[in-house]
Symmetry: C4
Subunit: 235 residues, 4 copies
């Protein structure tokens, strides 16, 4: 590769990473806003609130935020918004190492900025930290996160990376996959499937919980599992 | 431009604005009807009602009313139904100044007519005014409205104004964006994202609240923020 | 028209009407099943049930039953399933008088059969009659039904009768229109928008309510309003 | 057929069945995870939980798990995930006898593996068994299952097996059909529509209920009814 070509790629990578920063902030701003509303209502409700309704509300908020954010951004930047998806794209050779590193930085920064904006714009403390439910041990937490992250990453690889008649509608499939995975995950692990989603609120609230590592390990394993399944499909 | 050409445009602009009036009335009639049902149920419920369910019901009602109204009308009139989207289309040169003014008048009038019809057809007072929740100050209200309006306006610019394979399905993406933004906004600001939606019920109920200006300032800033992001994407 | 051609049409009309009977039974069987579940749960709940959740459940059940029924049947029979839509198709010259009459008979019969099957397959009495809510007078009932029926009929005329890139997805738009209209209508009128949906349970339960005529008048006016709007769009 | 050709088919059949095993495990893992969350919340709730919300949550979980699983897998394996759909495909000559047998084995095994993983990853016993509600006799159970299974099978035959403009979006229609059928079925029979979904949890929990046969008979009759309707449409 000539130096000029390399510089061109560097320029394109920085531009794409900048859009990833804007897009991840956009996605998580709407998602954390919905979570804040759901948890604020639960905390203020004089009667016993319904955990199931709260979980459904959050699943809709996160799943459909992702759906519309990817739809709006993906012809401009790819609309990845998730270091775990970036990792799988890198492992499958769809993006290069420089773009992978820049995307991860942009996505983690976007998560922090989104969490900070929601903290500033709504009354009370930030309520979007991810924690394990009572009775769920860390091994269970890691493996639930692994399976749901793998499902989300696989939806990106099969619906967006592969080209076919329904590819322009990949954002719908990806967003609905996130929604379904949350219906399982929110109750047990808060359903991150994305270290940027777990990391942003943790930074803003100064890491009040000790289980942040569960999301880095579990979601990382999910990227690997999805990559293995994708290679299996290609055989 | 010759005088004849100018007259042609004038004729087309008036026709399009007339359809915008019908379409905005259609959209907000269904939306205000759903809000009326949700709030009437809350007010009449002997047990403590769930605020979260009420917010979800209203988000579905407004988001999907917009989705189907845009789908039904947008090949006939453009299906804008929102002065804040009209403003962004004007700032980006997609519609001219005359059409912009006519659209705003038609959309504000549609909001008033829709609110009046719902008042006539359902028992009790009209319940669709937009107000800030307890604990939300006007600065927070303005900026929440700014962000969610920007998201909605950006979805129109990226999905409908830009031409690509998924453009015929832009109404689905626009409606789901409204739905997601409501999941955050309904709890804190009632989630207008549209001065016609805030203005119509306020006129019919004779402005019982002093915070109507929040929606004009916040939603107007949202049009500007979305326009800035759209220009950034085009660089 | 020659006698042979007329006989051909007669044959095609009878075949299409037979499929309409099967399809309307299919649509309303799933819809009445969902209503039965929702109302049975409300009646058996020891605590105060949520009317809003019940209304949302029924809106989803009716809207999405229509969505998938139209999707499955519409290349075979047209997937109309509704005498009020048949009327609008006849008034706009899309179907002839013989097919209009056969469709109405098939659709009303389908509503009766669907109601009878749900009565046989579930414990207790049939719970899917349409009635006006307390405080809603018959004039309000007629005009709410008129507006929501017009919205549904207009969605069929604009999304399915008109040919364009999104026409193969018309069932999605039509089903979501029914869903949105129910979010307003279920609380006030049970949201029929279709005399076959109001008539079937009334026949099976021997007309326990005196307001059946509201649905025939209101929904019929809705067909006329939608036809008028459609002609306006075509000018 | 030459021996070489037959061996080729055998090879393709085994590969497709392997993917069916992975895909059925994927689909039912997400679905059983959502059911586990819904039922765990109901069991632990100190106040009277809402059965209707629980039913809606499970309908969303199963319907949208199927939607996204079929979307992700169906260009790789066909995305059947259901012995009752396999049976209908075999009866209509779309798959051969060997593939039919291999698919059924793969799908039943996938159901067992999915149930075992959810049992391992979540606290407490497995909660996804299918049982008849109080007051529903076995004849009612068999015929409700027959009708909803027929609807699901028919959606596959009409939307995916038939080729037309909306075929790439068949997974959306099939998933929404499952969702609608669950809105009726969950309350009365738990809504299996798929012997693999009923069999997997029953194996893992060692058949605590005596009505497992209802799902084999009812869902099998559903495959036959859908096949009969499909032949009728083709006349």
């Amino acid at each position: 590769m000539s130096l000029a070509r390399s510089f061109d790629n560097w320029h394109a990578d920085v531009k794409a990473a900048s859009l990833e920063f804007v897009g991840t902030t956009f996605f998580l701003l709407l998602a954390f806003g919905g979570i804040q509303a759901a948890k604020a209502e639960m905390n203020s409700s004089p009667s016993m609130p319904s955990v199931l309704l709260h979980d459904l509300y959050i699943s809709l908020s996160l799943g459909f935020s992702l759906l519309i954010s990817v739809w709006i951004f993906y012809r401009a930047s790819g609309g990845v918004f998730n270091p775990n998806i970036s990792l799988a794209l890198f492992l499958n050779g769809i993006i290069g190492p420089l773009r992978f590193v820049l995307y991860c930085i942009a996505q983690l920064a976007g998560g922090i900025v989104a969490a900070a904006i929601v903290l500033a714009l709504t009354p009370g403390p930030l309520l979007s930290n991810t924690v394990l439910a009572d009775g769920v041990n860390v091994a269970q937490g890691v493996f639930i996160e692994m399976f749901i992250t793998a499902a989300l990453v696989l939806s990106v690889l099969m619906l967006a990376a592969e080209k076919h008649a329904a590819t322009p509608f990949a954002p719908v499939g990806i967003g609905l996959t996130s929604f379904v995975c949350h219906l399982w995950g929110v109750y047990y692990t808060c359903g991150a499937m994305n270290v940027a989603r777990a990391f942003g609120p943790a930074v803003v609230t100064r890491f009040p919980y000790s289980t942040q590592w569960v999301y880095w390990v579990g979601d990382g394993l999910g990227s690997l599992l999805a990559t293995a399944l994708y290679i299996l499909f290609k055989l």
